[in-house]
């Protein structure tokens, strides 16, 4: 029997770090039911009909914002959207003021993406609403890690004992950190792979393997999670050129064919085709990239539903 909680141990979802294994299993099992719901002719349930959720995005997003919005609507919540670029933030309003003004309009939950690590934790200490972190700088992106774990569990039957390689820009990636924590809690082995400059120092202290050779990493793993080079977060040059990075760490069909086994390819998006992954791999039968997107809605429904239910 897997260890499953009856209720989440936290009031907010700020990071995978705060979740127990039982919490994660509860979210994954609840998401199973929601995946069922979103594949029905009528994809909606009335659970959150008396709840208002604000999606507050201080950083650009396509997938995560749409996925959260869909999840909220399929749970019948009322949704308001806020993008910092078109708001009074550019007039000099502080984060707490912005959020308190939103809350004054009777909002119950805040889904927030912010460029600064810890923004969600900070907010949770200063406002009353429940906070869900949809990515804070290079710190955590918990729902992405949960949907990745859900997709791995769906593909392989379970996460425990599986070998997952996370390849690319580990240094600037919130997906990498959340994934490492989540997969390890579920009993998987994790390896990070990339150029020395893009692997954070002391990352071994998290108990992950470090590899700088792409072929070795691919031969070791059951599934490879390819990450994008986050040029917008890189203030200095970490490698000579994108072309050189692509030659050393880009995944293409030829490399995939030379491996002695079949591996599953994942990507949190957005894909830079031709840089970290070529089109023939991204669109191949080994890729579960679009399954990850579908599962994202189910996972976010589960998280919203469980957090709303545990309101203290």
């Amino acid at each position: 029997m897997t260890e499953t909680a009856q209720q989440l141990s936290t009031r907010h979802l700020l990071g995978i770090k705060d979740l127990s294994k039982a919490d994660i299993n509860l979210i994954l099992e609840t998401a199973d039911t929601f995946k069922d719901v979103i594949n029905r002719p009528i994809k909606k349930v009335p659970s959150l009909r008396d709840i208002t959720i604000a999606n507050v995005f201080f950083e650009n997003s396509t997938r995560t914002r749409l996925s959260f919005e869909l999840a909220e609507k399929r749970l019948s919540a009322d949704v308001i959207n806020f993008a910092a670029s078109s708001s009074s933030v550019s007039k000099g309003e502080t984060l707490i003021d912005t959020v308190n003004n939103i809350l004054a309009m009777k909002v119950d939950m805040i889904v927030m993406r912010h460029p600064y690590p810890g923004a969600g934790v900070f907010l949770s200490k200063h406002v009353k609403a429940q906070i869900i972190n949809a990515g804070d700088g290079a710190h955590e992106h918990p729902t992405q890690a949960l949907l990745d774990a859900f997709s791995i569990r769906e593909k392989f039957g379970e996460v425990a004992g599986k070998k997952i390689a996370i390849i690319g820009d580990i240094l600037h990636s919130r997906v990498a950190l959340s994934n490492i924590l989540c997969l390890q809690k579920l009993g998987a082995e994790v390896m990070v792979c990339g150029p020395t400059t893009l692997i954070p120092k002391y990352i071994q202290s998290l108990g992950v393997k470090v590899e700088h050779n792409l072929i070795k990493a691919l031969n070791w793993c059951d599934a490879a999670n390819m990450l994008r080079i986050q040029l917008e977060r890189q203030d200095i040059n970490y490698f000579p050129s994108l072309r050189e990075y692509s030659m050393l760490y880009g995944l293409n069909k030829t490399i995939l064919d030379t491996l002695d086994k079949e591996i599953t390819i994942m990507h949190p998006g957005p894909i830079n085709r031709g840089v970290e992954i070529t089109s023939d791999v991204a669109d191949s039968k080994h890729s579960i990239i679009l399954d990850q997107v579908e599962n994202g809605v189910a996972i976010r429904m589960a998280v919203l539903y469980l957090l709303a239910g545990s309101r203290g």
């Binding site: 009856q6 509860l26 099992e29 609840t30 069922d36 719901v37 002719p41 009335p46 469980l306 709303a308």
Partner: protein, 183 residues
Amino acid sequence: MQQSILLSGPKFQITIQRLCQQLIENHHHFENSVIIGIQPRGIYLAKRIKAELQRLLNIKSILSGELDITFYRDDFRRKENGPLVPNSTNINFVIENKKVILIDDVLWTGRTIRSALDAIQAFGRPQSVELLVLVDRRFSRHLPIEPNYIGIQVDSINSQRVIVNWQETENKDQIILLTEENQ
């Protein structure tokens, strides 16, 4: 807890037989009727009824499913430690224009059935919906909901609990009434 047995042994089996006969009177060979057990405890009665009907009618093809109503409840966020964890819904057919027989073990306030009526809409527009329960706790309804088929009727007060045990899960078919000691 003081415990008294309301129904067990041969009478229990006769009650199920009688419910099946009543269903056959209204649904003949179940060509256009489906049986839906309500999760978690109604599914055992639904399975029993289905097996018995198939034996009596000598057919194998009665459509049946299991319906979970957790997401449709009206007490979400209103109860401390309210049920959050859903059970699975297994209905792999469309109920459009079908005669639906909802099955649950105990009918008390009627709120579960209201949620089920809501939940079932996600699978189409049924021609009709009927309700079959093994135990009807009379005079305790919060909503105007009455069953079409009743195993036994029980007069009970709110602090009492009525529980149905099944051979499959508790090794015995019986209906018991639990009463707090200090009543």
